[in-house]
Symmetry: C2
Subunit: 424 residues, 2 copies
C-alpha cells in the first residue's frame, strides 16, 4: 500500500514503528560513508601490478628512446597519447596528457580562459558576467569550479537521453555570455544517464553566439560499464564536431583515476589542432611537464585498449553487485510510492529521488545515525535543488556489508522523511 493511499492513522502507526527501528539503529553508533565516488579496496587491488611494471633503467626508456626519468615532453609520451587516442577513438595529435587529476586539467583550461582567453578572444575575466550551462543533477566539483570564478550557472534539465537541447540551443546560439556547458555524456554523475546520438549531434551542431564558447565534455566514465555485454555507447564528440564543421567546439576529458589507483592516474584532454596549439602555448609557461614515469607505468600495465577493457571488466564484476544491492533495497521505496531512482549501466553513481522536500531531511536523518551521504543539493549549482528531492548515491566505497547496512538505514530515513512530509 502506498503512503499516499494511507489514512492519517495508518501513517502515524507506520511512523511509530519506523521511529522505534531508527532508535535501534542510533544505538549501533554506525560510521558509514557513502558520500563520494571512491573505489573500494577490492577494486584497488586490481591495479597492484602497476607498481612492478617498471624496475630497471631500461624499463624507463620510452619506445622512441625518451629517458622518462628526466625532464621534458610537455604534452605526454607518444605511447600514452596513443593509448588514450585508441580509448576515445581520436588521433594521437588530438591528445594532451596532463597530471594526475582530470578535474585539475579542467580547472586549468577554464582558469586559462579566464586569464588569457581562448584562441585569441578576450579573457573571460574581462567580458563582464559570463555564464555556464549546467545540466542537473550534475557533478558538484564541476559546479564548484565555475562558482569559484563567479561564473553564473544556469541549470538545464538533464533527461535520460541528455540535456534538454531545445533549451541548450536557445541559450548557446543566442547569448554570447554563455561560454560553456558541463557535460558528463556517458553514465552522467550522478544520474547515470548517457547522451543519445541525437543529443550528441545537436551538441556538435551548436552555433554559439560566443566564439569562445566550449563544450566541457567530461567523459569520466568512458569505459566504466557495469556489464560489458550490455552497455551504453555514445557518439564520438570530436568526430561529430568535425563533421558539423565545428572542430574547435569541444574539450573532451578522460582520466584513468577510476581504472587504476585514484590520485595516481593520468588525465587527458582531447581536442582540435587549433585548441591544442592554444593550450600548449599557455601550458608551456605553467609547468615543465607532467609525470612521464606514471604515464609509462600505464602503458606497460595496459598495453592497449584491449588491456583496459579486460581490466575494467574486473572492476565491473566488483561494482555491479553493489548497484544491484542498492536497487533491491530501494524497491520498498517504490512500492510505498515515495521514491524513484535511476538504473545506470555504468559509472559510479545513481540518483535517488525522494518526495519533493524530503531529500535534505532524509540525509539529515541518515547523518544523525552515522551514515554520511553526499549533501542533498550538492548535485545542483550553488547546492540548491529547487525541489529538494535528489540524493546522489555512491555504491562503490563501503564494503558489501556496510553497503547493505547503509541502504537499510537510508530506506528507513527516506520513509521517515516522507511520513513527516505527509503528516505535516
Amino acid at each position: 500500500m502506498k503512503y499516499t493511499e494511507m489514512s492519517k492513522a495508518q501513517l502515524e502507526a507506520e511512523q511509530k514503528e519506523l521511529l522505534a527501528q531508527y532508535e535501534k539503529i542510533k544505538a549501533q553508533h554506525l560510521k558509514l560513508d557513502m558520500s563520494r565516488g571512491k573505489p573500494g579496496s577490492e577494486q584497488l587491488d586490481l591495479s597492484q601490478g602497476m607498481l612492478t611494471v617498471l624496475k630497471t633503467k631500461e624499463d624507463l626508456i620510452s619506445e622512441s628512446g625518451i629517458d622518462c626519468r628526466n625532464y621534458g615532453v610537455l604534452d605526454g609520451l607518444p605511447e600514452m597519447k596513443r593509448l588514450i587516442a585508441e580509448l576515445v577513438q581520436a588521433k594521437e595529435e588530438q591528445v594532451f596528457i596532463g597530471g594526475n587529476s582530470s578535474l585539475n586539467l579542467m580547472y586549468t583550461i577554464i582558469a586559462n580562459a579566464w586569464i588569457y582567453g581562448i584562441c585569441g578572444e578576450k579573457p573571460w575575466s574581462q567580458q563582464g558576467e559570463i555564464q555556464f550551462l549546467c545540466p542537473v543533477p550534475g557533478y558538484d566539483r564541476h559546479f564548484k569550479i565555475t562558482e569559484s570564478l563567479g561564473i553564473r550557472m544556469i541549470p538545464i534539465p538533464l533527461r535520460p537521453d541528455g540535456p534538454d537541447m531545445d533549451i541548450v540551443e536557445s541559450y548557446v546560439n543566442q547569448d554570447p555570455s554563455i561560454k560553456g556547458i558541463w557535460c558528463v555524456p556517458q553514465y552522467s554523475n550522478p544520474a547515470g544517464y548517457s547522451y543519445s546520438d541525437q543529443v550528441v549531434r545537436r551538441m556538435a551542431a551548436l552555433t554559439p553566439a560566443a566564439p569562445d564558447f566550449r563544450i566541457f565534455w567530461d567523459n569520466a566514465y568512458v569505459i566504466h560499464h557495469l556489464d560489458f555485454e550490455d552497455h551504453d555507447a555514445i557518439l564520438n564528440i570530436i568526430d561529430e564536431c568535425e563533421k558539423a564543421g565545428h572542430p574547435d567546439l569541444v574539450y573532451e576529458f578522460v582520466s584513468t583515476s577510476k581504472m587504476v589507483f585514484p590520485g595516481n592516474g593520468v588525465s587527458a584532454l582531447i581536442t582540435s589542432t587549433t585548441n591544442m596549439a592554444d593550450i600548449k602555448r599557455i601550458m608551456d609557461t605553467e609547468t615543465i611537464g607532467f609525470d612521464k614515469i606514471n604515464q609509462l607505468q600505464h602503458v606497460r600495465f595496459f598495453h592497449d585498449k584491449a588491456g583496459i577493457v579486460s581490466h575494467m571488466k574486473q572492476h565491473a564484476a566488483i561494482i555491479r553487485p553493489r548497484f544491484e544491492t542498492i536497487w533491491q533495497h530501494f524497491s520498498v521505496l517504490g512500492e510505498l510510492g515515495i521514491a524513484s531512482w535511476t538504473t545506470p549501466k555504468g559509472g559510479y553513481f545513481l540518483s535517488l529521488y525522494t518526495l519533493p522536500g524530503c531529500a535534505k531531511r532524509t540525509a539529515a536523518l541518515c547523518k544523525e545515525v552515522g551514515v554520511i551521504l553526499t549533501p542533498a543539493g550538492a548535485s545542483y549549482p550553488y547546492g540548491k535543488d529547487p525541489e529538494d528531492h535528489h540524493i546522489r548515491i555512491a555504491p562503490t566505497y563501503p564494503s558489501t556489508e556496510e553497503l547493505k547496512t547503509a541502504c537499510q538505514v537510508l530506506v528507513i530515513c527516506a520513509r521517515l522523511a516522507a511520513l513527516e512530509a505527509l503528516l505535516r
Copy 2:
C-alpha cells in the same frame, strides 16, 4: 697577454688562427645541448631504487593508516610533510605538498592571487598594473610566468650576497603596485649566489606598501651542495619572517625534482598558517588531490633528512667534477681578459660574463657549430640583458666527454666574439 693589450695586427692574427679552428669544429657536425639544467643519466641512476620501494598492498598504507591508493588528502601525506619540514626546518603544518612540479605550484599560487586575490585582498587582475622585482640574472621560467600575466618586471641587481636590498626596500616599502619578488636564495639560478644573513634578515624585515606583497622564495637548491664539507647555508626565511613579525610575507618552495627523477618528484610550499588556510581553501576547488603514492615512494626511499643528505652527496660527487671541468676550460678566457664567471658551491648553473655586447654573438657562434646554450638574455626579464654579456652555463646534462668538447667550442666562440668586438 690580454686581448685588450694586443695590437690590431696581433688581434687579427689571433682571429685568423681561431677561425681556422672554428672551421674544423664545424666539420665535426657536433650536436651538444648545454641549454637546460637537466641531471645527467649517471645522476638519474642514483634514484633507481625509488621504483621498488613500494610493491605490496601493505606497502601502500601510510603510517597513520591512509590507503594511499585511493582519493583524498589534499595537502599531502603527514610523513611527506614531515620530511620536507625537517629538510627546511619548518613545522609540519607549515608544509603543503603539491604535484610533480614546483614551477607549477608557483604558477598556481600566482594565478590564484591573480584571480582570487591573496588573503581577502583584491585580485591582482583588478589592481591595475602590478609589478614584480626580478633579481638578475635570474631564472627564465620565473620570468615567463610573470610575463605571461602581464606583470611588469623590474630587474634588480643580484650581488654575490643577494639582491641589492636598498633598491628592493625602496620599491617594496613605498610602492603598493609591487606585489612580489622572485628569489632563488641559495645557489641562485644561474649565478649560483647565496643570500647573506643580512640580506635574508632585511628581506624578512620588509614592510611592504602592498598588503598582498609576497616573497617568492624558490629554495630550489636547498640541499644541492657540490661539496658537503664546504657549502653555503642561508638563514631560514620562515623563521626570520616570524621573528620580524611578518609571518605571512613569504611563500617558500622546494622540490625533489633534482634529487630523484625530474618529472616524478614532489613539490612543496612552506608558509604561514594564514597563508596556508588561504591556499588550501582555493586549492580545494582546483584538484581532488596530488599523487600520494609518489609521496610515499619518497618517504620510503629517503626515510628522513639524513637519507636525503647521503643521496645528495652522491649527486655532488657526480656534478662537482663537471663544474671543475668548466672552470678549467674558462681559465684561458680569464687570462685573455675577456670573461669572468661565477664559482658556486652548489646548484645547477653558473654565469659566464663575456665582454659587453658579446654574449649573443658567442651563443650564435656556438649554435652554428652545433652547441646549444641557453639563449643569451634568457636570464633577464623579457630576455633583455642590457649589456648583452651574460651566458647561463648548465654543466650537468652532457656526458663528461661532451662537456669538454662543448667547453672547448664555447671558449673558442667567446674568443672569436671578443675579437670581433675589439676589431670593430
